[in-house]
Symmetry: C2
Subunit: 367 residues, 2 copies
DNA sequence: CTGAAAGCGCTAACAA
DNA sequence: TTGTTAGCGCTTTCAG
């Protein structure tokens, strides 16, 4: 009784060729007659051949797939969890032979062109990057894509570039979800205000626009009476909010579109308006928890950083391992956090991703 | 210059033993002196050894890991997407040598003990199951766990059993999120009603309880004036809702805690109350879309079926492949769907999972 | 108790 | 243009 062959061996047997030839046919390599290739591909299709990725990974261990990652390393909040998703997923893939090159930057947009260039030089097959300053980065991204290095933006886009894919929550939609929620929370003719980081940042501007679009549509007669910029400064945010609340005593809602919401909470408290003025915030971190409990924060729009990281790594590796096509856009829905579901979010339970020192060895050496 | 060895070869070299002995030490197999084992484990720890899963998968292809899946096959809605998540994740793992046994049941709780027994007999290493009737299933689950077959409940729990893990959105929390949202949508002293499937179903009861708990806490003076049961019947749901709206003309909100919300939308329309009475629904499917657009549905509580399936397969295979511990509970946060983020949900974009016929060959043969 | 060796399915280098 | 062969790191079987 003959032994059952599998995979390329089976194809080879059926086609009366060697496995070497099958390999050439399957991978479009040089040195095979077109007729042979077609015959082999035909057979492969017939038996429904799918490569055994474990075997492939094992065999190509030397020339393994390598993925570069360039994401900000910032204490607290968003990026820790983005890293968490990236590293958890990367760990799994490492066991399967995929390799990762990490080039964290200190803050969003800081030195990222340098880190990106560096990754390109190491010869990775794909790069995952948060495009902090799209302007400078775009030509580099295009250059990478030209060299067949796939670039995937995560969280922050470089829309003008030729990046293969983007994984994010769209800022405009983020804002409009906040606007819809606010509109439904408040009675008609309500007046609200927006606390932005800085409107020069495209991201904050778009969130503000989304909010401004959606709010009046869901709150008849409602309007936005003021937009202030906190510039991510605690004191400035507090003071400006405090002043704002004095200027508009009939204000019923406040939307904070940056992560920096604590000063706003405090200003509401100082005016005795906690729970009276509806507050919708952005993102999530443990220190916000008491303000949910007290009712100061009505809801927060959550951008799912962990999942963004996870998905980014996942679709990149899927693509590089199986030649499956990269989805050009993955737009996640932001989550809505309120007191009932607050504790289900990882930000409330886990310490921020424990960023293994080794990940940052490179970065540290540079500093 | 000596060749760099890797993995167990490296350990073997350092410990001056053969790879066979290393293997015995690492896996606690018989036939090795305790002293030798300790020495080897020590070295493994020192060099931070992690097994190459690709190599393992390849090597153990014959005695590969097998995972059984027992989930309802129901047209439309929830389970299609649960299947979608399961199958997408399973596909990836299949390429890596993990095998899957599918035993779909026709509807939740229908014949699931039979399917479960069947899976046990085939000798799978783990079982993923939606526990439709926990009472009958629990002893079988316990039996499986006794035999070291891991059981993971997904979407519907069997809390009394010894199942290793549960992946779901907790019904109580689901309801309380709806209650909080409703409470924040409505002014104080509002009266609302609940449309349940049937209160004998534990799931619907708990959702109702969660809602009843949260709503009054977020709507001072608010109360629930009626709870009706639609029994998943279109006509009954419509008629009862229609009557309800007649009986309580001052009703301001309606919470539907079953997927079957279209009759309620129609009843609201028939009474001319669409958009006047706040409607919060459960789950999501394409036919709901126009009711979001018209403002009939204010929000829906989304249970993330795709993700539940994905996570279930993922943690089960992670566990079986790496001996990593199974998290005993994975409670997901339900999503909040409103008109702004509606189109980001897969239910709006994709046809329900295209359930490959082969998955159901077994089931079909049985019918 | 321990070592040696075959082989999992695939890739890549070399031979023919 | 095609065939042959040596591994990749691990498990497993059979000798010692």
């Amino acid at each position: 009784m003959k032994k059952e062959r599998k995979g390329i061996h089976l194809i080879a047997e059926l086609a009366n060729v060697s496995i070497g030839t099958v390999d050439r046919a399957l991978h479009g390599r040089y040195g095979i007659r077109e007729a042979t290739r077609q015959r082999i591909l035909q057979i492969a299709r017939q038996i429904g051949y799918t490569p055994n990725l474990a075997a492939r990974a094992l065999s190509t261990a030397k020339s393994a797939i390598r993925i570069g990652v360039c994401i900000p390393r910032e204490i607290h909040f968003f990026y820790d969890h983005l890293w968490g998703g990236v590293l958890d997923e990367a760990r799994r893939l490492t066991q399967l032979g995929v390799m990762f090159e990490y080039r964290p930057v200190r803050a969003l947009g800081e030195q990222d062109t340098k880190a990106f260039k560096d990754l390109l030089k190491t010869g990775v097959n794909g790069i995952i990057v948060t495009a902090g300053n799209p302007k400078d980065l775009s030509p580099l991204i295009d250059e990478a894509e030209e060299k067949r290095v796939r670039v995937l933006c995560v969280s922050t886009d470089a829309p003008e570039s030729r990046r293969s894919s983007i994984v994010c929550v769209e800022p405009w939609r983020n804002g409009s979800l906040a606007g819809e929620l606010m509109g439904k929370f408040l009675p008609p003719n309500s007046k609200v205000a927006v606390v932005a980081g800085m409107l020069t940042a495209l991201d904050h501007r778009k969130k503000t626009d989304g909010f401004s679009d959606a709010f009046p549509r869901h709150c008849p007669g409602g309007g936005i009476v003021s937009i202030i910029e906190g510039h991510e400064d605690e004191d400035e945010s507090f003071q400006k909010t405090f002043d704002l609340l004095g200027r508009f005593p009939n204000l019923s809602g406040l939307y904070v579109n940056t992560v920096n919401c604590l000063p706003v909470c405090r200003a509401l408290g100082a005016r005795g308006l906690a729970g009276k003025v509806r507050l919708i915030t952005t993102d999530l971190f443990a220190e916000m928890s008491p303000y949910f409990a007290k009712g100061t924060i009505s809801a927060s729009i959550y951008q799912q950083p962990y999942r963004q990281g996870q998905i980014a790594v996942r679709i990149m590796s899927d693509h590089l391992m199986s030649k499956s096509s990269l989805p050009p856009t993955v737009y996640l829905s932001p989550g809505v956090v309120m007191s009932s579901n607050l504790e289900l979010f990882r930000e409330m339970r886990l310490a921020p991703a424990n960023l293994d020192e080794s990940v940052f060895r490179y970065a540290l050496a540079q500093e």
